[in-house]
């Protein structure tokens, strides 16, 4: 899938995560930046979740920034999904 515009999801609240996505030029690969309040304990797990999600949507070129405040896995998944749908202009049923 192709990222066509800047998009964001989530919040800075505790137990939530902000996901920012930017389009990049084709074939420039995945540029992922992770910042987390539980970096030491879950940094690797968060990175894996992001890569899995990008694989799932078949996204190869992306600039993705996350700022995590201790979100659980379902929340991270949901925020990633929301941001991706918005960045690909596929979001439905919202203003």
């Amino acid at each position: 899938m192709k990222i066509i515009k800047k998009a964001q999801s989530g919040s800075f609240e505790s137990s939530d995560i902000i996901v920012l996505i930017e389009p990049v030029v084709e074939k420039s690969g995945r540029n992922i930046e992770i910042d987390s309040s539980v970096m030491l304990e879950f940094g690797d797990a968060i990175a894996k979740l992001i890569l899995d999600k990008l694989d799932e949507y078949n996204i190869t070129d992306i600039h993705l920034i996350v700022k995590d405040k201790g979100a659980l896995e379902p929340t991270i998944n949901a925020r990633l999904e929301t941001a991706i749908m918005r960045a690909c202009d596929l979001q439905k049923g919202t203003l």
């Binding site: 505790s14 939530d16 379902p74 949901a78 999904e81 439905k92 049923g93 919202t94």
Partner: protein, 285 residues
């Protein structure tokens, strides 16, 4: 019944710990219009993986007349929460349309039609007027609830602590629910710091026949349970009634008296309800 905003992960993930009998994951009024997609996706992910223990889980979707309602159903109905709460129900035609869409989704996913129920929410004068029809329209509708804030707005009256303006509506909704042997759940009490006010309002709701009450903050749950929980004296009396009834039944005696008072069917029914609220198994007596 505890309201949880559908776009708030911190509250969603703790939904099962507060001892609420049911929780309502809200995609409607608690979610900003430009976050409807985010909340829907979050609630879907949470429903899949968070354990809410014995708490009944309902999801309030947006009305089908909005651009969000249909998408809400497409995402949520396949996960079969215990119930879907439908806002601003006004006519049986609306209800028919809702059920038709739900059943189409269920068919698509090979899901049964009798598992997930519907809570019809009455929030307008028209809804109140049609509530008897709504309550009896489908066996999927197993509860009628009232949205006090919206109803007050629809009636163009001032919202008061006593809620005298919506008193008739509350009673009509209870009556419609009782007539069809389904639950009636009362509206929220909005001032979370007024514990005495909440107690008085809940006592009134219990008195006029509501089977439960919605809350917007977990701190309100204990007071509502306290009001609805029968007193020790009531439990003891109910226990005696059931005990005597069972003993007499064995001996083939239909009517009997306790402390000089005739025990008839309605009293028996009430006694079993008291024991049920106190979590005492009828069969264990």
């Amino acid at each position: 019944m505890l309201y949880i905003p559908g776009n708030n992960p911190a509250m969603l993930q703790q939904g099962g710990i507060y001892g609420a009998d049911s929780i309502l994951l809200d995609l409607e009024d608690a979610v900003a219009l430009n976050q409807k997609d985010a909340a829907r996706i979050l609630v879907r992910n949470v429903l899949k993986s968070i354990n809410f223990y014995n708490t009944e889980v309902c999801v309030r979707i947006n009305h089908l007349d909005t651009p969000f309602g249909l998408e809400d159903l497409e995402e949520i109905a396949p996960l079969q929460p215990d119930a879907i709460r439908y806002p601003k129900t006004e006519t049986v035609e609306e209800l028919a349309k809702l059920i038709q869409i739900i059943e189409a989704i269920e068919d698509k996913h090979n899901l049964p039609h009798d598992k997930m129920t519907i809570h019809a929410m009455i929030e307008t004068a028209l809804g109140v007027q049609n509530v008897f029809e709504i309550a009896k329209f489908s066996k999927r509708v197993d509860a009628i609830t009232i949205g006090g804030q919206d109803l007050t707005a629809d009636m163009n009256i001032k919202s008061t602590k006593e809620g005298s303006g919506i008193d008739l509506a509350r009673k009509m909704i209870v009556m419609a629910a009782k007539a069809n042997k389904i639950d009636a759940i009362d509206t929220v009490f909005v001032d979370i710091n007024d514990e005495d006010g909440l107690r008085i309002d809940t006592e009134y709701a219990k008195q006029i026949g509501f089977s439960g009450k919605a809350v917007i903050n977990p701190r309100q749950i204990d007071i509502i349970h306290d009001v609805y929980m029968p007193t020790e004296e009531e439990i003891r009396k109910a226990y005696r009634i059931v005990l005597e009834f069972k003993k007499n039944k064995k001996e083939g005696i239909g009517a009997f008296a306790i402390d000089g008072k005739m025990i008839d069917a309605p009293i028996m029914t009430r006694a079993t309800q008291v024991l049920e609220l106190a979590n005492i198994d009828f069969n264990s007596i």
